[in-house]
């Protein structure tokens, strides 16, 4: 690829990304009342989206090969346990990550 072609390629990626982020705001501008269905989606979607994001983070974990997802399972349990116990966001995240690093570096 020439430099111009590279710039166009990156430009298209920027355009695609920006489109997905701006589209809802362009379709439903702040000045006009938002359709009820869209407002319902705005309220009902987030819990599902956070679930989707958790699955998305784990998408490359293989249950049938390598470490069978055991380090992930243990570390997520650690995150959940810490969070139920102390409900300190940073503590839960740091504890779970440390647990995972120790597991993949020393055990598995």
């Amino acid at each position: 690829m020439t430099l111009t072609q590279q710039i166009i390629t990156v430009g298209m990626v920027v355009l695609g990304t920006v489109l997905t982020r701006f589209l809802p705001f362009l379709l439903f501008p702040a000045g006009k009342p938002t359709p009820k269905y869209i407002r319902y989606l705005g309220a009902a979607l987030p819990p599902a989206v956070f679930g989707l994001l958790v699955v998305y983070c784990l998408k490359n974990v293989s249950l049938f090969a390598g470490s069978h997802g055991i380090p992930e399972l243990i570390s997520i349990a650690a995150v959940v346990g810490l969070h139920v116990w102390k409900r300190q966001m940073l503590l839960s995240i740091a504890g779970g990550t440390l647990c995972y690093m120790l597991l993949v570096q020393l055990v598995f």
Binding site: M1, Q6, T9, V10, M12, V13, V14, L15, G16, T17, V18, T20, R21, F22, L23, P24, F25, F28, A30, T34, Y37, R39, Y40, L41, G42, A43, A44, L45, P46, P47, A48, V49, F50, G51, L52, L53, V54, V55, Y56, C57, L58, P71, E72, S75, I76, V79, V80, H83, V84, M89, S92, I93, G96, T97, Y100, M101, L102, L103, V104, Q105
Partner: protein, 237 residues
């Protein structure tokens, strides 16, 4: 004038702690991305400018392959639309929250990556902290972390030696915590359970590379079908 500076400083101090896990995650992933570009034969200018303008982690890794392949701008556009389609959901959820942010709004939308969206949606911003400045700093700090990580990775990447294996789990841990926070806040868990269940089903059916779009469609269909029942209780979630 003095009070405005105070407002801004206060919002920054409130926003910063929320972004600490993202600092760890973005530096790790950003450095990895910079190194990846470096070994793929691109100078640090590439990760630097791409992290600044694209600001969508997974898409930037894919963009490296696009740059290495044959010139195909339409394919690049379609890939970006597909991979980032989940942002459409973020936008729908943030229509109200970003309202009234003034000149900051376009930047808030531009910088609405998974992490910025998740924090800005779930954070309980204290009454006396300016909401739009808070969300602005969350977005800006995340952008700076990603940009600096990618740039440093592109420059010094090949020199890094300590064992960082597994550090990327910080992002998974963060989304688990955000999912839990949302779970503890809501009365009904229908949407949360649908999100996890349908995503897992689609992951099994379509594989890691192709499951996002079917999962989004399935979630949309399920929530639309359940609308009457979910709206009844007055609590949409």
């Amino acid at each position: 004038m003095h009070s405005k500076t105070t407002t801004i400083r206060k919002a920054f101090r409130c926003a910063f702690p929320h972004t600490i896990p993202i600092f760890a995650g973005f530096w790790f992933l950003g450095l990895t991305y910079g190194v990846y570009m470096n070994v793929s034969g691109f100078s640090f200018w590439y990760p630097m400018l791409m992290s600044l303008t694209i600001f969508a982690g997974s898409m930037e890794f894919v963009a490296v392959n696009l740059l290495l392949g044959a010139f195909n701008p339409i394919q690049a556009l379609v890939m970006a639309l597909m991979i980032n389609a989940r942002h459409l959901f973020y936008g729908l959820s943030m229509l109200d929250k970003y309202r009234g942010a003034g000149w900051k709004k376009p930047y808030l939308i531009f910088g609405m990556c998974d992490e910025s969206f998740s924090i800005n949606y779930t954070a309980e911003i204290p009454e006396d902290v300016d909401r739009s400045w808070f969300m602005f700093f969350v977005t800006l700090l995340n952008h700076v972390y990603w940009f600096s990580g990618a740039t440093l990775g592109g420059i010094f990447g090949s020199l890094i030696r300590f064992n960082t294996e597994g550090l990327d789990f910080v992002m998974t841990a963060m989304f688990v915590v955000i999912f839990m926070e949302q779970w503890l806040k809501e009365k009904r868990h229908t949407s949360a359970l649908l999100g996890v269940g349908l995503s897992l089903l689609c992951l099994l059916a379509f594989g890691p590379g192709n499951f996002i779009i079917p999962a989004m469609l399935a979630i949309l269909a399920a929530l639309t079908g359940l609308r009457g029942r979910l709206e009844e209780g007055g609590d949409a979630a």
